[in-house]
Amino acid sequence: MVERIGVYVCHCGTNIARTVDCKNVADYARSLPNVVVARDYQYACSDPGQEMIKNDIRELGLTRVVVASCSPLMHEPTFRRAVADAGLNPFLFQMANIREQCSWITEDREMATERAKASVAAAVMRVTFHESLEIKKVPVNPDVLVVGGGITGIEGALQIADSGKKVYLVEKEPSIGGFMARFDKTFPTLDCAACILTPKMVSVGQHPNIELLTYSDVVNFSGYVGNFTAQIRKRPRYVDEEKCTGCGQCEQKCPLSVPSEFECGLGKRKAIYRPFPQAVPGTPVIDREHCLYFTKGACKVCVKFCPRGAIDFEQKEKLIDVQVGSTIVATGFDIFDASRVKEYGYGRLPNVITSLEFERLTHASGPTAGKILLKNGQAPESVAIIHCVGSRDHNYNEYCSRVCCMYSLKTAHLVREKTDARVYEFYIDMRAFGKGYEEFYKRLLEEDVIFVRGRVAEVTDVAQSPSEKGKLVVVAEDTLLGIVRRVPVDLVILSVGLEPRKDIVEVARTFSISRSKDGFFLEKHPKLAPVSTAADGIFIAGACQGPKDIPDSVAQGAAAAANVLSLIDRKEVELEPTIAIIDGESCSGCRICPGLCPYHAINFDEERKVAVVTAALCKGCGVCVAACPSGAIEQQNFTNRQLLAEVEAICA
């Protein structure tokens, strides 16, 4: 059958017409093979423009359509829809970009017109070989997986669960709550972190739509948008969650104390423990590494005292498969390891602590019951807070950790509130960008905190004068005065930055999420798709994407939930048909393509000894097509015939 092609050359107002002689291009198009009609038009994308194309299809019996206008990213969907409205398969359409790639990049009218002609010719030759393709739809499983039970994951899970959808919330620690559960007060409002967090934690624990899987992690995640399978490893707590009432008898009676991770090692916990009293779930875990029963084979004090017989040393690790349609990865951050900055003496000088340790010191239920004390039990008379530890530093992380300036101000406030100490803040730049943040900074300036602008060179216990004896001396260049200062203090608090989780590489691999240069997860678009990833149905939220404070983390948790709900309410998703197809007859079974596919969309069929594409996973990137030594793979709408025709026309 001879194709009947219609060509439409758009002026785009003056955007194209200024440098391209559109009428000339349309005249030229009419001379191309199979072209039945060619018109130039002011705005092809306008309603009358689209109507013109539709009319031509109906009245002239067009079988193929070419529009020469802007980038396909802009209006390909518009024209495909118009073509489909007129009864033609939307893939029997081709767009030639004569704006971004032609009229906008030159002033030379003649050259631009020639270039536009070549593009139109290429599109006409290509479209001749286009085939009708069918858009498949797959249903979306309304269940959702949320990974990470910090404030971000909690917010996301609650939003989704409240709308009546089922959520699996996976947390690797024994309790949800994340870093926020360890903080004392939050900036800039100074409300107590626990007071605003615990009600949300309780809601998660009691929510009928949330299945909480703590002490667990996701070991495998496969499938495609709307239809994922997550394999979750639930580590044994050695305490039966059904029987345990969380009475705490076992914790009290357990004879073995070890340093508590939750308290940064400043306080103790038992071998059977909840990280903190408000833990959700309230069921304790037995730390197998230390528990006397597991290490020495004897003790069982907890068994004796548990009124419900909930202790179960025989519990085993469980692997649970759950089916979900989408996921939110909210795995958070790690704090920078301050001992890497040797000149600040963390780990060497006893009264140099991290800001997280300070949170525990000042927390009412922390190891000192909220008293800010030195290692010798005395109150400090002077305190230095050092900003940007591990941040904005070529030796460690180049980026700004965003939260340290503000939490340092909060730290200063708490020290001033609770002690008589003089407080020095050593900062590079003060970054108080959020709502109420600058006001908070101003408030601190009025609280007699001494701000020194300059990066600290070192913290030393080597005194150079009698006033420095027995003190920690903070050495810094005061860049406002242009002098080197030596400030003797009793306590140094290092405001450590935020880093990607240690295991982010494995998590990224499990969920096929890319990472940016700084190591954090990469969003689909930094401005317009901040919680989406390159993979449909997989969302990221919170500090796993980059340092974030609590308000931003909560906003992202909710944003990711909105994305998930929008996906669920669509009920089904369309799968792009421009995917790779493997011709089983030609496939030699060399297995090159499965390893190359960035979306894990190609499997090897052991029985037939050929590679097979999972249509729903394929993104149509074309890597396998180019790599196949047998030429057995072809990508729909990018077939060899189509591409060669296009190239031939351009080169003609």
Partner: protein
């Protein structure tokens, strides 16, 4: 260390003059450790830090000539002076990163029938001994015990900075480890990578003496009986100017200063004379005798 390690040896100007003992002890210790040090023939000034700050290009040229000579030998270049290490490494790096400089230097070298492709690695002897030779080989050669001797490990400013890559830049530990292997006790020495006063001793002696005083005081306070050095200039400032420190500050320091190679040599059983220990200004004989104990 399996095979005998071979290196070109760049002594540098200071060990030919003021610091002969460093050179002597270096050669002895390396021989004992089966490190073949072949002195680089016809070497010249490294381009030194002072030269570098006045005429950078010419300093690079001096430095590059040494590198070109070393490349002919197809061996890594070992230095004992951290200033030489810094200067030679600087030229090496700049030539690798800056093609214009590479061409300029290249054409200058050509005039002397030399060329440099950038293959030479410049290493400090301490790093070679700690990283390449290692604990096992060191311990196997110990003949005399110095146990109980408390030593302040002093690295000075230039071993790890500015280029780094061999130890922590601000708080190195290599010398601490070596001393432990030798059976002596490195004391806590927080000023281990701080400035000795360097060239300021010539231009602003009072400031330099203050810095030297800080080092001596810190070593003493932490119980050190002597200071181990790895740099000829640090060594000289600490030793030759101790009297001036005492005069200026009214102190009474009498702290022996020993090269790390001398301490290693003593433990390996070499005579004090062979190690140049009889040449120092602040005698260490009594101190060493107090702790020495023949093992085998």
């Amino acid at each position: 260390m399996q095979a005998r390690a071979e290196f070109s040896y760049y002594p540098g100007c200071s060990v030919e003059g003021m610091n002969k003992a460093y050179d002597k002890s270096t050669r002895l210790v390396c021989k004992a450790l089966d490190i073949d040090l072949a002195e680089l023939g016809d070497w010249n000034c490294c381009g030194a830090t002072s030269y570098m700050s006045i005429d950078e290009l010419r300093a690079h040229l001096l430095s590059a000539r040494n590198l070109a000579l070393a490349e002919k030998e197809k061996k890594d270049l070992v230095v004992v002076c951290p200033a030489c290490l810094t200067t030679l490494t600087k030229t090496n790096r700049y030539m690798a990163e800056n093609s214009r400089l590479r061409r300029t230097i290249g054409s200058a070298l050509k005039a002397a029938n030399l060329q440099y492709w950038g293959s030479v690695k410049v290493r400090h002897l301490l790093e070679v001994i700690v990283n390449e030779v290692g604990e096992h080989e060191i311990k196997a050669r110990i003949k005399r015990s110095l146990s109980g001797l408390k030593v302040a490990p002093y690295y000075g400013c230039q071993l790890t900075r500015p280029f780094g890559g061999i130890d922590d830049k601000e708080f190195p530990m290599m010398l601490d480890r070596l001393l432990t292997w030798l059976g002596v006790q490195p004391v806590n020495f927080p000023l281990k990578a701080k400035c000795c006063g360097g060239m300021l001793m010539m231009t602003n002696e009072e400031v330099a003496l203050g810095l030297t005083r800080n080092l001596l005081e810190c070593a003493k306070q932490n119980g050190a009986e002597c200071i181990a050095t790895i740099c000829p200039l640090c060594h000289m400032n600490l030793e030759a100017y101790q009297g001036n420190v005492n005069k200026l500050f009214g102190t009474d320091f009498s702290v022996p200063i020993l090269y790390f190679t001398q301490l290693t040599g003593v433990a390996f059983g070499f005579s004090r004379k062979a190690l140049g220990i009889n040449e120092e200004l602040i005698p260490s004989q009594a101190l060493l005798e107090k702790h020495l104990e023949v093992l085998r």
